[in-house]
């Protein structure tokens, strides 16, 4: 058993992945190390998150008043399209799986690297290529279709929709390559001692995500290609005047994009399962239920796409089937919520920044999820479809849940990735600002949707203004929160106290190795005798974990 002696002072590992084999830019750009690739993914996706966030702020400022505030209708339409495309394809889908997943998954299964390190690097460059082509399209003219690219609008618009479609098409390959890599890694590279039932829950959820990425992304690729072909050559696939079917696109698109919602939320659940155990110092309540419900979500998620089409003239029978199936996804999510809450029972709960994000996550996932089930009752969806209610609902899931989990992950694994602690006090300030700013941004939007304000409206009747102003005010708090986080996290890179291998006293496998980890992940492979979420057999002498007090410095 290779436990680190828990009483040693925190040390910054001398030989680590940041300085081996070299520190130059070239050694980073040509690296095959999953940790470096993960870090490069994290940095790139965070840059795009900032870009998408800037678009979001401009949208909120524009909506302060009816009519033009700071831009004209065309710029506004481009702005919300770019906001959606950047946030979903460039940030949300790759951020947790390709960023944190790449860094952590091989360590968590006790492997030296992923199964195909070269494919892993290729995935990063494919992502960069797709991102650059999409960005080029945005700078060159932008598209005004919304991120959903509904036909026949997208095939007839005069804006530059083809480069953006092509960019998203290429990004899909990055997603597939990473997913494939993870699945093979989990099946073939688990260290002796790590059986399927001793896999960290993070790995289970990322595994579920990878399955969706491999099965669903090709459908998106084909669909986007068909739209690009129709836009460029006018083959009439979606054009009723030539025997095409405009609604066919919606079926194709949501067959990918609904599972894609689970590509975004499953990794968030992956993070939360780790965080709730580590900060409650408690075994997960119902390991199998939490692990298998991830696979359940991945599976049932493929059969719910029709709930996006309740108003588009599908048969009442279809609406009924898709409505009921959508509720089952809600059940799998409910199982997780109950088990996370129950995990705290008889725990030893520490209110560090990642745990505060867990509380925010739980709140947003509960209300985002319940409004999702309410939307699946069909009759309520008829009123809410394409209004701000839906906007608020999916932002509760995507921003409320996924971003909270992303921030929880960033703080929880920051000492592992960088070897240094962020400032805990500023961490709590940032978390409070972000969580409260988020509530004030999107609660008014639920009410706007109830009142009947449709989404993607540049102009709106005056009776909607008060709630729009409230939402923009909340967005400013949210923006300030993100700026606070950016500042203290960058400061900690240089001035943060040394964290040591396991500042949280966590039982996760990734904390068994020094921080930052060595190139080969473990100096000496541990025996992995204990599960990754087991806290019950701690001898009393292991009272203080190394570096636990240094976070207040």
């Amino acid at each position: 058993m290779s436990q680190f002696p828990d009483s040693s002072p925190p040390v910054f590992a001398e030989r680590n992945y940041l300085n081996t084999p070299a520190t130059g830019l070239k050694s980073w750009l040509t690296t095959l190390d999953h940790k470096r690739i993960g870090v490069m993914f994290l940095i790139t996706t965070l840059i795009f998150f900032a870009v998408g966030g800037l678009f979001a702020m401009l949208i909120r400022i524009e909506l302060l008043t009816p009519g033009p505030t700071i831009m004209d209708a065309m710029s506004y339409n481009r702005m919300f399209t770019l906001h959606g495309v950047v946030m979903i394809f460039l940030f949300m889908i790759p951020a947790i799986p390709s960023g944190f997943g790449n860094f952590l998954l091989p360590i968590m299964v006790g492997a030296k690297d992923v199964a195909f390190p070269r494919l892993n690097l290729l995935s990063f460059y494919v992502y960069l290529l797709g991102a650059l082509i999409a960005l080029g399209g945005m700078i060159y003219g932008g598209a005004d279709t919304g991120w959903t690219f509904y036909t026949p609008y997208s095939t007839t618009t005069t804006t530059k929709v083809v480069p953006i479609l092509l960019g998203a098409f290429i990004l899909g390959f990055s997603s597939i390559l990473t997913g494939l890599n993870f699945i093979v890694t989990v099946h073939t590279l688990r260290a002796p001692g790590i059986t399927w039932n001793k896999l960290p829950l993070f790995v289970w959820s990322i595994y579920g995500t990878s399955v969706i990425q491999i099965l669903a992304t090709p459908v998106l690729g084909m669909t986007l290609l068909l739209v690009a072909i129709e836009h460029a050559f006018g083959w009439g696939i979606f054009d009723p005047a030539r025997g095409g079917d405009p609604v066919l696109f919606q079926h194709f698109f949501w067959f990918y994009s609904h599972p894609a919602v689970y590509i975004m939320i499953l990794p968030a659940m992956a993070v939360i399962s780790e965080v709730v155990c580590a900060f409650s110092r408690k075994n997960i309540f119902g390991y199998k239920a939490v692990a298998y419900s991830s696979l359940g979500i991945a599976f049932v998620g493929f059969f719910t796409w029709g709930h996006h089409l309740f108003t588009s003239g599908q048969s009442a029978f279809n609406a009924g089937v898709f409505g009921v199936l959508s509720m089952f996804v809600g059940i799998f999510t409910a199982i997780k919520v109950f088990n996370w809450v129950a995990t705290m029972y008889k725990g030893s709960i520490s209110f560090k920044t990642p745990f505060v994000y867990f509380i925010g996550f739980l709140f947003f996932l509960f209300f985002g999820g319940m409004t999702g089930v309410a939307l699946a009752t069909v009759s309520l969806d008829i009123h809410w479809q394409d209004t701000y209610f839906v906007v608020a609902h999916f932002h509760f899931i995507m921003v409320g849940s996924t971003i909270m989990a992303f921030l929880a992950a960033l703080h929880y694994w920051w000492p592992k990735i960088t070897g240094r602690m962020y400032n805990e006090r500023w961490g709590l300030v940032g978390a409070t600002l972000v969580v409260s700013g988020f509530v004030f941004t999107f609660l008014p939007q639920f009410l706007l949707g109830n009142e009947g304000m449709p989404r993607r409206y540049f102009n709106y009747p005056e009776r909607f203004q008060a709630l729009n102003v409230a939402s923009t005010a909340g967005a400013s708090v949210l923006g300030i929160g993100f700026l606070v986080i950016l500042v203290y996290i960058l400061v900690s890179l240089k001035y943060g106290p040394v964290a040591g291998p396991n500042p949280w006293g966590s039982r996760g496998y990734e904390w068994l190795t020094p921080s930052p980890p060595p190139l080969e992940n473990f100096d000496e492979l541990p025996a992995f005798e204990r599960g990754p979420h087991e806290y019950h057999d701690l001898p009393g002498v292991e009272a203080v974990a190394p570096g636990a007090g240094s976070s207040h410095a």
Partner: protein, 349 residues
């Protein structure tokens, strides 16, 4: 109770029995969500306080769920979800099955206006008149991209699809004026694609529709007859104005000088316009006609290339009438005319 909850949730007034039914489910869903949320978060809060960390590195007991735990975690939410669905789904099915004898209105969406046509010929742009207390079936289609017909007060929405018809129906209780939105993103003026639902007392509607059918040959455009004065002795101008409204010119071109998606019509004739190419032209009859047939050819600087071609969609006399109508629009001679759809008065809450 109903009214209090409705106002708390910012829901608009309920114009039909369907709207009241849907709101009933809405209240039930909100109440169960809040109760469930309270129970879960109160439990979480108790755990967080009672089991807060008192000492670093505490050992904790291993707690595993029993089978009945997981059964409750699955069973209770599933029961409520299915109950919601059992209430909501029949409400939806009802909207797909119009009662026999419902009055048909044909609805056509196009960028960026709504056209409503009644049996027997009358039609109107952006104003849908229906009788109170009688079922109305809407047969909805689109001429270009996908739009969506949405009246919040009816809790009703139905997409308008090019190349096929969709249907829905409603029965409005109260006379009044309500706003129709386009809910499916359709481009530059998506948020301007508004219409008005005017619910008339049934006898009044009968008189109106009879009048419309009688005067069918004279004026089809009910939207403009109310707000416009006729110009005696100039029938070609009347025709031009009607065609301009019918074809949707006025959705993008104002006639009172206000800035809109396209250049304003007032004083357009013989105006010097700078084109995107930098060239300066005089807007004479030839230019106006060409701009209708091939709008992209000579685009005025500062405007987007969004206007569709009207080649083949207007007869030559109609084109001439529109040109004459534009020529007639001069500052001293013109009153502010309709330009941006119906004037909408906010409904008091």
């Amino acid at each position: 109770m109903n009214d209090l909850l409705r106002r708390l949730l910012f829901l608009p007034p309920q114009l039909s029995r369907h709207a009241r039914d849907v709101d009933g489910l809405h209240f039930f869903v909100v109440i169960t969500t809040l109760v469930a949320g309270f129970l879960i978060f109160a439990t979480a809060l108790v755990f967080m306080i009672r089991y807060r960390r008192r000492r670093e590195g505490e050992a904790t007991p291993e707690v595993q769920p029993k089978h009945w735990h997981e059964a409750v975690f699955v069973g209770v939410p599933l029961a409520f979800f299915l109950l919601w669905f059992a209430i909501g789904y029949p409400q939806y099915v009802e909207t797909t099955q119009p009662p026999p004898g419902a009055m048909d209105v044909f609805v056509q969406g196009k960028k960026w206006m709504w056209k409503f046509a009644y049996q027997g010929g009358p039609s109107s742009i952006d104003v849908l008149r229906v009788p109170a207390g009688r079922p109305v079936r809407l047969l909805i289609t689109s001429r270009d991209v996908i739009h969506s017909f949405y009246v919040p007060e009816l809790r009703l929405k139905q997409d308008a699809l090019p190349g096929r018809y969709t249907q829905t129906w409603f029965q409005a209780d109260q006379p009044g004026r309500y706003q129709v939105f386009c809910a499916e993103y359709c481009g530059l003026s998506h948020s301007g694609m508004l219409a008005e639902l005017v619910v008339l007392p049934a006898p009044e509607f009968d008189i109106w529709i009879a009048e419309q059918r009688r005067g069918e040959a004279r004026a089809q455009d009910a939207a403009l007859t109310g707000s416009e004065r006729s110009m005696p002795g100039s029938s070609i101008l009347d025709q031009g104005r009607r065609v301009a409204a019918d074809q949707g010119c006025l959705k993008c071109h104002s006639v009172d000088g206000s800035r809109h998606i396209g250049p304003t019509f007032i004083d357009l004739y013989s105006r010097h316009e700078k084109l995107t190419t930098g060239e300066v032209i005089t807007a004479d009859e030839a230019y106006l006609t060409r701009s209708m047939m091939d709008p992209a050819a000579q685009l005025v600087a500062g405007y987007q290339n969004v206007m569709p071609s009207f080649q083949g969609r207007m007869t030559p006399p109609e084109v001439a009438a529109v040109v004459e109508y534009i020529k007639s629009l001069k500052t001293p001679a013109t009153d502010a005319g309709p330009s941006e759809g119906p004037v909408y008065e906010p409904i008091p809450r």
